[in-house]
Structures are given as C-alpha cells and as structure tokens.
Symmetry: none
Subunit: 205 residues, 4 copies
DNA sequence: TATGAATGAGGTTTCATTCAT
DNA sequence: CATGAATGAAACCTCATTCAT
C-alpha cells in the first residue's frame, strides 16, 4: 500500500489515531449515503465529534474523500502491475486481476462502494485529481489485459473491448455486496465465481 | 411553516406539452448530476424557466423523479412478463430479457443512468414507493429467469444465483454508456454483445 | 430533499444563555406579528443573529413556539390545580383563578398575546401537540370551576356554562393590554377589576 | 347597510354575482385560516376558480379583506348610532348595543371571526385604512356608552372604563362561537345571556 | 371571464466552514 | 483537540401577482 504520510496543503499532524478513526467513520458514511448526500454532521456524529472539530483534522470534506480513496486505488494499481509483470497467460492475468480487485473490495468494502456509486462526482470536486488519475490507471490496466487477450486470440474478438472492460469493472466493483458486512460469502469464493462467470459464461456447455 | 408535502389541488394539468419539456430537462439533469446533486435551479435553467415556476407543474423534485422513472420501470416489467410468457428455453428467455432491457436503455438512456446511479437514494426519498416497488419487480424477473435456467440444468449451478442476477443487472444497466448519446453503437448490437458475454463468457472455447 | 422535521442530534445544548436570548427575541416577534406572519429573519434580526444560525439552537420555528408556550401553560395548569385543591367557595376559586391567570399574563405578557391571537394555528402546526394539550387542560379547569359554582347555586344557572367559560377566558387573556409593557396598571389591580366585572357585573346594584 | 357600489381604484364591474360568490368564499377562508395564512389559492379553490382569475374581480387580497369588512363595520356603526340616538337609559343602551353587535355577528359570523383574530394585521396591510377607521368608530361607541353609564352613576366607577370597554368588545366578538355554524344557540338568546353576564355578573345575588 | 404559465420576491431550512474559547 | 456559536451561501418551496391566449 502507498503510505499517505504527507497530506495536501498544510494539514495538521499527518496521521494520528484520531484521524484514522474519523476517516473510518467518514468511509462508512460516504459509502452509505454517497459523498454528496453525506454531511459533515453525519460524519461527526458517527465519529463522536462535532462537525466543526473535523476541521482540526481535515481541511475539507473533499480531502477526506481523497484520503480514503487514493491509497486504495494506488494499492490496486500496484497490485495490478505486479500481476501483469509476473503473469503471461491472458486468462491467468484476468483471473488474477479479478482476484486482486475482489480482495481489495473485501479489505475495504466501503471504499469499493464509494467508487462504484460516486465516481461521477469526482471530476467536479476539488482536490480529487489524484483520485481521478488513479481511477484512470486502474481502468487502463483492465483495458490492456483484455486487449492483450484478444490480440493473443484467447479472448473473443466479437465483443468490443471497451464493453468488456467496463462490464468487468462494473461486476467486480459490485462484489462488495456479496461479502461481509453486506453479504456472507468469503472473498476468494466470490472472486472465483465472478471469474467463472466472466471467462466461461453462464451457460453450461 | 411546516412544508406540506401533499400535492396541491387545482394545479397539475395531468400532462401538458410544457410538463413534458420540463420532465425531459429534469431527466437530463438528474442523469448528469445525480438526483441529490441536481438542484431545481439546474432543472429550471435547462428548461428555460425559473426554479419556482417548476412547482406550477410538479409538487416536488421527488415527484419529477417518480414521474420519470415509474413509466420506464413499468414498461420494463411488462416487457419482461411478456417475454417470460411466450418463451420457454431459459437461454432464450435470458437473451430476450437482455435485449429488452438494453432496448429500454436505448429508448431512455438518461433514465437508465439515473437508475444505475441513484437507486440507493430512492428508499429515503418520499413519494418514490412505486419506483421502489417496480424496481423490485424488475429484479425478481431477472432472478426467476436465472433460477429457472439453473433448475433446468441449462445454467451453471456453481455460481450463486444472487451473484449472477446482480451482475447481469449491473452490466445491463451500464449499457447506456455504449450507445448514443454517450456511445456510438446501435442498441441491438450492444444487446447481442452483452448476451454473448454473459452467456458464453469472454474466453474463446 | 424532503425536509426532515426530526430534531438533529448533536445540536440542542438544552438551554444556554444564548438560547434564552433568542427565545426572548422570538417571543417578542411572535407576539407582535403573530406566529404566521413572523419570519425567522425577523427573529434573527431581533436576536442579532442570521436566520440560519437560529437552527443551531432550535430545530424549527415551531419548536420555538412550543418552547415559549409549554412552560407558561404548564405552570398555569399547576397554579390552577393548587387553587382548586386548597379553596372551597366557588366564587373564591374563580377569583383566585382569575388572579393567577392575570399574574401569569403579567409575568409573560407576550406569551399571553401569542396564545390569544394564534391558538387557531396551533392545531395545524407540527410539534405543538403538547401546547394544544395544555391549552385543553387550562380550559377544563375554567370549565369545572364554573360548573361547580353553578351546581352549588352560587353562580347563575341562566347562562350557558360554555359561554361563561369562554367569555372569562377571553377577558383574562386580554389582560396583557392593561399592564406593562402595553398598559400601565399593576397586575393585581387589573385582576381585581376583572374579577369584580365578571362576578358582580357592570351595573351598580 | 352601507352600499359598496364603488370600489377603490379602477376595479372592474363593481359587483356582479360572481364577485359576491368569490367574496363569500374568501370570507370563509379568511375566517378559518386567518388573513395572513389564507392564500389566494385557498380562496380560488373554495370559489371554484383559479387563483389568477381572482384578479379579474379584485385588485389584491387586501382589497377582498376591505370589501368584506367595511360594510359590516359601517353597518355596525350606523346601528350603534341609531341606538344611541333613540335610547336614554345607559343600561338600555348597553343592552341594545350588545344585541346589535351579536346580531351582526349572527348575520356574518365569519366577518366577526376575522375581526376578532386579525385586527392586528390591518394596520400594516395596504388599503385597509377605512377598515381601521371604522373599527375605531366602533370602539368609540362602546367607550362612550360605558363612560356615559359611569357618569350617570348607573355603571360602577371602580373599574377602569378602558378595561370595561375592551372586555365587552372581546366577549361580544367571540359570540360567533356560540351560534351557527359553529355553535347551536339562536342569536338573540346569546345576546341576552351575554348582556346578563356583563351587566349583572356571574354571581347570584 | 377564465385558464395556464410564468415571474420574482421571499419564506424556512441545510450545510460546509470558521473561529474564539 | 474539542466545543459551541456563528456565518453565508445555497437549497427547496410558496405565494401574490401578471399576462397572453
């Protein structure tokens, strides 16, 4: 995982325990209500603090969003790059990308939910440039994996790569619903089922 | 003093042309910004009207959302039921459901986008009970199609039906991105590609 | 979107000094303009605060009304009950009820004015149930005092008790006009004159 | 009754039947909700017309109020003056004033209710100068009747004339509650009971 | 005369943010 | 670090009034 030792602008003591607690509360609230509908009062209430006091730890609501998502996305990009570097068979790559993405989702289901639901807003929000950048990086990893598979004749060429890519992305981002705390299945099992579905399809051959 | 949420009597001309225009404007704005972030001023601006004047036509922002989504969802449920009634082979049913859903998405891509992005908020919004009900109806159609296919041995039984159902739903709801005005592909082609992907999988056999 | 009427958690410091100041300002404004015509901006202006900031202390305009009136009415009911418990002669009871009511009016003339002028609206306003309940309690105290006097043959039986009760209520509630800050007479003198008028009538015998 | 053949400013056809109907609807609505809380939409709804169409008949909401109240008040002043002119005994005068006032209340209970509840607003509303003037005239009639009775030694002198006057005014204005449509007693009976109460008091001598 | 659409001002309320203590 | 008070902008919505048809 990337280490967020420095925060944008002149924000205070970097990362205390309190800061982490607040961020966890914010993560939950953002996941449940969405970043637009979530208010700083909601976050304060969940963290056991008054909303005004949040500003001792974070410069803005946006900064919280960034601080929640950037590490998650960065770590995903790193994981993806490692997989691409050490794997050669396209279906193996895709299978492992799915596994890594689902594992991330398992590690931080709230973050996954935020990404799935609020990506649309990140462009207009200030200070989320890095989030947007990392999201693009993730997408590009999926895209090259798919294109490579098609180029090597292992993936079907009669489906538009962009459709494949985005559909896989959607399916994987929705995996949080099948695992704790929302679902009941262990992450690796979810990953396996999604991989089967994506690679082999629903129909029995 | 307290805001009366009840529909004012005397207003509400059922559906005039102006009403339709405003609804179209609202549909666009909701799709682009999300129902929470979209303001009545945004809608008014797009419709060429002052925000207060919207209330000559609609009782609330919520009512607009309902009026946009209910017909779309109802028509989808009807289409789904017709397909289920006249088709017997599970893979045929699923293929046709996908086709119908994508066709809907093509007919009203903005509505699809709203559903995809804002479903989470509908439960807490007042006056959207019918929307929620129809959404449940849609989901139940997908679910029974999938379960039937599994029961008849045509769909794989090693993937949780709920995972299958939700994943298909996600993929189909995202189809608006590949068609006009956002994408460039004709609807029936998108439907065909998604059906292939879902039923046969990405891998070349 | 829909306005949540529930009291926000986290706010509401029970009663600070500021809260009292605002409540006093609100009391004046409500008394002068009436609860419907009084705007939160009026109240804010009188309290030296922006109208939005009022909501740091109160959940709604209605809550202010309730918080102004409930204690006044409750205290009146208590006073009435004490009188009824320790007094036996009907004319003595009535005289003392009038005295207590006028004393209340003297203690909080603005509240009396609000009650006199805006009772009609309380039923339709949200959160004023307790106000309505206490008002009924006050009325019932007047009614039983009058009926008791008639039953014991001390009050005339040729006038409908409901007319008597309501008329006395009206006269007493209007007492604020004769005392400071609107009038000039001391409260006990007003009470004495009203009691004479009510019990003995205007005519010289 | 004074004939309102001319309306203030350049308002249309003077008085058609429709105008009367609307005015009746407005009277009811004003009485029930109060002139501030009553909206032109309420009035239109009760009159079976759209609110905008009201302005073909009246220049403003205020004009309606004026047109409702001025004739009532003028007629009361005339009646009072006639009584004062043809009666000499103070208690007879007062008794007949009460009778006349209650009769007015019976004839137009809604108007009485409006006067009782909304007098406070008339000063700030535009175009109600004549209403205010006539209300002053009414008050002055009550005042002189009372003062005359005191001067002639027929009314008690140990109660402030202003208190007497205002209290009588309150009681009489509240009479609408005891007669149809709100109460059940015939007007002359209400008048008789109020006169007894005011002149002779509640206590049995 | 009436309708239906619109205006524009203003109402209550929300909310991110600031700051003295 | 946290509180509690406040700000100021902006949100949703209401309402008297106007006007073309």
């Amino acid at each position: 995982m990337a280490k967020p030792t420095t925060t944008r602008a002149g924000t205070r003591p970097a990362d205390s325990a309190r800061r982490r607690e607040i961020l966890d509360a914010a993560t939950e609230v953002f996941a449940e209500k969405g970043v637009v509908a979530a208010t700083v009062r909601d976050i304060g209430a969940r963290a056991g603090i008054l909303s005004g006091s949040l500003y001792h730890h974070f410069a803005s609501k946006e900064e919280m969003v960034a601080e929640i998502l950037v590490p998650v996305l960065r770590s995903q990009v790193e994981a993806f790059d490692a997989i691409a570097a050490e794997t050669s068979a396209p279906e193996q790559i895709l299978r492992r990308l799915i596994g890594a993405a689902v594992a991330q989702t398992a590690a931080d289901p709230h973050a996954a939910r935020i990404i799935r639901n609020d990506t649309r807003h990140f462009g207009e929000m200030q200070g989320l440039d890095e989030v947007v950048r990392q999201q693009r990086a993730v997408t590009s990893r999926w895209t090259s994996a798919v294109k490579q598979g098609i180029a090597r004749g292992r993936f079907r060429s009669d489906v538009d790569p962009s459709i494949v890519t985005k559909s896989i992305g959607d399916v994987v981002l929705g995996a949080y619903r099948f695992m704790r705390p929302m679902g009941r299945m262990p992450a690796n099992q979810v990953a396996e089922q999604l991989a089967r579905l994506i690679l082999d399809g629903l129909e029995v051959r």
